[in-house]
Amino acid sequence: MSNIDIISGALIVAGSLSIVVGLLGVYRMPDFFTRLHAASVIDTLGTILILSGLILYQGFNLVSVKLLLILIFILITTPTAAHALAKSALHGKIKPILGDD
């Protein structure tokens, strides 16, 4: 096992752990906006770590370029989806829970 294999394995494990953390957040958080915040951890940190681990594991070839394109696509689209969800929730009169409540 070379060094790159170890690094990519560590990246994939870290990404999986952050997905587990995000899932726990979605399950345990009290209201919509905090749940959305926890879910965005899955979208950004989890996928970035897992996909970069896979890219390192592949080395430089066609598959890793495709993975890089997927990564860029996810980085553009998932924040937009979270933005649309939060905006439609605000328009739907969902109030976030504030500290004084």
Binding site: F73, I76, T77, T80, H83, A84
Partner: protein, 136 residues
């Protein structure tokens, strides 16, 4: 729509990429995963995204519903046409081997044209479905 600024900017970036990916899935379908049906759905999803974000009225001015209906029929016609060419060349319906001099090239051409027909029909049918369910 002005109050959907982020969505419209991102859609402008994403829609051409979705179309490009649809064409890739279409024409790479005989070497990798993909094919006409998936490519048609992906290609139509770019139009549906445009319709959701910029409004159905604008989408109707981009793609004419009558032309889309004609295209849906044209794809089926392309599919059947390849089959009839097989009959006219003295073989069975959809016999790809007779489309060119060698059977291998003939199969490539046949699969490509048939998948193109499937793709055109599926994309048009998806756009028609979106028009049918969207509010006028």
């Amino acid at each position: 729509m002005e109050h959907h600024l982020v969505l419209s900017v991102v859609a402008r970036i994403i829609i051409p990429l979705i179309m490009l990916f649809g064409l890739y899935v279409q024409f790479h379908g005989d070497y990798g995963p993909g094919g006409g049906f998936q490519a048609g759905v992906i290609f139509a999803s770019s139009f549906i995204l445009y319709g959701i974000i910029f409004g159905v009225k604008k989408l109707r001015s981009v793609v004419n519903p009558t032309i889309v209906r004609c295209l849906a029929a044209f794809g089926v016609l392309l599919y059947i046409g390849v089959g009839v060419v097989g009959i006219l060349k003295g073989g069975e319906f959809l016999n790809y081997n007779l489309l060119s001099k060698t059977s291998e090239v003939g199969q490539h051409i046949g699969i490509m044209i048939i998948e193109l027909g499937v793709g055109i029909t599926v994309a048009s049918a998806m756009i028609i479905l979106f028009f049918a369910f969207a509010k006028p």
